[in-house]
């Protein structure tokens, strides 16, 4: 057994944003074991003050390039809540369809490009191209489909241009929707292939379990595996009703840790987890048939507390969003698409919007004066909500895996952080680079 371990991963690679892993073990005693997020803050909540209600989405979309559609939707819903703006059923459905495109894009990017190299023992996806060209091309194809899907609904793949409080500035034609539906039907086979590839190396995911609290949206009316509507629930709720999204601050209980420029959160315990596995643990019985099939392939069951299985829950959701979207397009085409006019009268108010980002639940709240100018904002990002949980995982993981030696332990801890699909630049950014000498 290794008596001394000294790990300092400065700027973990293959994650969105910057984080450090620091472990010191001397004579078998753990002296330090930290997940640090020293990323420099970007102060979005301060910057939106004084901006008009219809500029909020344009600004806060830039919190994150990978989940820009999610930030745009959360902020747009918050503005609509504050200004009492109604949204038609058609616009609502098209927005959910837009949101699903980002879930697929982000999940495929994460599992296919960022996690797969760990499972195939490669430093990046590049060396995998000659080794497994067909698998890589299948992943790229699924990623391209997701982006074309975003292009159609959101105006482009990153930073939507079609979202406006009250509805959408542009809607697709029925012909375009029909083509999208055909593409999605063809993508189902690619997703099954990707799942089979991952299944063939799934034994590389460490067998590590730590009981924790899982928080996500929950929608009862109608019961839905939700990313967009509903209230806040948790695996610790034990039958207590869900919390209304306007009261999200009571769930997140944000606090500042000296380890991190991103705020940390806690609810029933000292840490909680959000993301695909949290949604699965709260809502798995509402998955589409293909989503359930993928979960069965991997033996993933409700109540799973292995953080590495978040990667698998993301694959489950890829299948779910594609299958569900095929049905949603049927419904849209049956009803027929109508051009809708948006009309908004600014007023004073405070409102919240809450949606599920690919990496977990996201909260936005804004307050406006009578002219519709923003006077205050509060935003709580999924990765912030996972930081404390990653720290608690580290504290359990290191004693269990430290006898495997420093390199294996470091690799395991890097994989552990990656499995949360962190998006650290959401709200912050860090800069202390140590250059390769």
């Amino acid at each position: 057994m290794s008596k001394n371990i000294n790990i300092h991963v400065h700027h973990l690679t293959r994650v969105e944003g910057h984080g450090n892993i620091v472990v010191n073990v001397t004579d078998g005693t753990i002296e330090k074991c930290e997940w640090q997020v020293p990323e420099a803050p970007r102060f979005f909540e301060a910057m939106v003050r004084g901006r008009r209600w219809d500029d909020i989405q344009t600004i806060v979309s830039r919190i994150c390039g990978i989940c820009s559609i999610t930030h745009s939707l959360a902020s747009t819903k918050a503005v609509e809540d504050a200004l009492d703006i109604e949204v038609s059923e058609q616009a609502d459905t098209l927005r959910i369809l837009m949101h699903y495109s980002e879930q697929l894009q982000s999940h495929v990017l994460h599992v296919g490009y960022l996690v797969a190299p760990d499972l195939f023992t490669a430093p990046s996806v590049v060396p995998l191209v000659p080794k497994a060209p067909d698998a890589v091309k299948t992943i790229i194809r699924a990623h391209r489909v997701a982006n074309q899907w975003s292009d159609l609904l959101a105006g482009r793949t990153t930073h939507p241009t079609t979202l406006k409080p009250g509805g959408l500035t542009k809607i697709p034609t029925e012909k375009e929707l029909r083509q999208l539906q055909e593409t999605l039907k063809a993508t189902v086979n690619d997703l099954v292939t990707i799942c089979e590839v991952v299944l063939s190396v799934a034994d590389k995911l460490p067998n590590f379990t730590r009981d924790t609290e899982y928080i996500s949206l929950k929608q009862d009316n109608p019961p839905t595996y939700t990313f967009y509507h509903g209230d806040i629930t948790s695996t610790d709720c034990n039958g207590d009703g869900p919390v209304h999204i306007r009261d999200w601050e009571k769930v997140a209980n944000e606090y500042v840790s000296p380890q991190s420029t991103a705020k940390w959160t806690r609810w029933h315990r000292d840490a909680y987890a959000v993301g695909a596995l949290a949604r699965f643990n709260n809502n798995a019985d509402l998955l589409s048939p293909l989503g359930k099939k993928v979960a069965d392939m991997f033996g993933l069951k409700k109540g799973n507390c292995n953080p590495f299985m978040n990667n698998i829950a993301q694959l489950v959701e890829c299948a779910h969003v594609v299958e569900t979207s095929i049905e949603m397009i049927d419904r849209l085409l049956t009803n027929g698409l109508k051009e809708e006019k948006i009309s908004v009268t600014p007023k004073a108010g405070r409102g919240s919007g809450c949606v599920e980002a690919p990496r977990g639940i996201l909260f936005h709240t804004y307050e406006f004066d009578k002219n519709g100018d923003c006077v205050a904002a509060n935003i709580c990002i999924p990765t912030n909500q996972n930081h404390a949980n990653i720290q608690k995982d580290f504290e359990a993981f290191v004693p269990q895996f430290m006898d495997r030696g420093q390199d294996d332990l470091r690799h395991g801890m890097e994989m552990l952080v990656r499995s949360y699909d962190p998006c650290i630049s959401c709200s912050t950014h860090m800069l202390n680079v140590e250059f390769v000498k």
């Binding site: 700027h11 690679t13 293959r14 994650v15 969105e16 910057h18 020293p38 420099a40 803050p41 970007r42 102060f43 909540e45 301060a46 910057m47 939106v48 003050r49 004084g50 901006r51 008009r52 500029d55 344009t58 600004i59 830039r62 919190i63 994150c64 390039g65 990978i66 820009s68 990017l109 490009y113 960022l114 430093p123 990046s124 590049v126 191209v129 091309k137 790229i140 194809r141 990623h143 391209r144 982006n147 105006g155 482009r156 990153t158 930073h159 241009t161 406006k164 500035t169 542009k170 500042v256 000296p258 420029t261 705020k263 630049s425 950014h429 800069l431 202390n432 680079v433 250059f435 390769v436």
Partner: protein, 248 residues
């Protein structure tokens, strides 16, 4: 001949421009075939120490940033600013409209004094080190990115439009956003995006920065015609162009 060594670095930003490189999809395999990507933290574990081309994403917001970008500049033969945060400061510059201590207190409350929360004025990359080329936009346009990279690999100087978005918007036969009472920055903002936002019925908010000699007088005439004020225009110009020319 050895392949050009390319590195990608990110500073304060959303990393959406790097994502556009990933979003090249199948085309990225061609790119990997002709260049040697030696450092790209978001996608790879390898690191390097000298680069033929360094692509810089993000704004410079702290003294440590300035040191890091200066070090990268020393190691890079060609330095390219990638996207609005790097080329003009982007939305990050909204922060410069406020007192920095007040901004910190607004977000972190009583913990604002903690040393790791320090921040400075937001700067575009060329406010700190010389920049050889700029790829504009928020996010960058994928076609423009591959065009610029192709030019650099062939030793050519890329030609970036220096006419306003209105030119491309008119060519697409879009109805002017001003007709909908929206303050659109098309008349003064650099084209090259294919008027993507107005083409989806969304006003131009200026992510590609101003053209070299913006026709401010014409913009004023347009505002008079539609009964809007200088303040309306300034409000919109601040989104991506806080504390920048042209001043009106």
């Amino acid at each position: 001949m050895s392949k050009p060594r390319v590195a990608i670095f990110d500073f304060a930003c959303c990393e959406g421009c790097q994502l556009q490189i990933v979003n090249l999809e199948e085309e990225i395999l061609d790119l990997i075939g002709v260049v040697d990507v030696v450092e790209w933290r978001e996608a790879m574990s390898e690191q390097s120490q000298e680069y033929d081309i360094a692509l810089i994403e993000g704004s410079i917001t702290r003294p440590e940033d300035e040191e890091r970008i200066k070090e990268i500049r020393k190691r890079a033969k060609i330095l390219v600013a990638l996207g609005a945060c790097a080329t003009i400061g982007g939305v990050n510059k909204l922060k410069n409209n406020f007192d920095l201590d007040e901004v910190k207190t607004c977000v972190y409350g009583q913990d604002a004094g903690m040393p790791h929360l320090a921040t400075g004025m937001t700067k575009a990359v060329d406010e700190v080190v010389p920049v050889d080329f700029k790829i504009h936009g928020c996010p960058i346009d994928r076609k423009e990115f591959t065009y610029v990279v192709r030019c650099l690999l062939m030793g050519k100087t890329p030609v970036i439009p220096d006419y306003p978005v209105c030119v491309e918007c008119k060519a697409k036969e879009n109805v002017c956003r001003w007709e909908y009472n929206e303050v659109c920055l098309g008349p003064i903002i650099r084209a090259g995006c294919g008027a993507r936002c107005p083409s989806t019925n969304f006003r131009c908010f200026g992510c590609r920065g101003y053209v070299e000699n913006p026709n401010v007088e014409a913009a004023k005439e347009v505002m008079d015609k539609y009964g809007l004020t200088i303040d309306d225009l300034k409000q919109k110009m601040e989104l991506f162009g806080s504390k920048q020319e042209p001043t009106i």
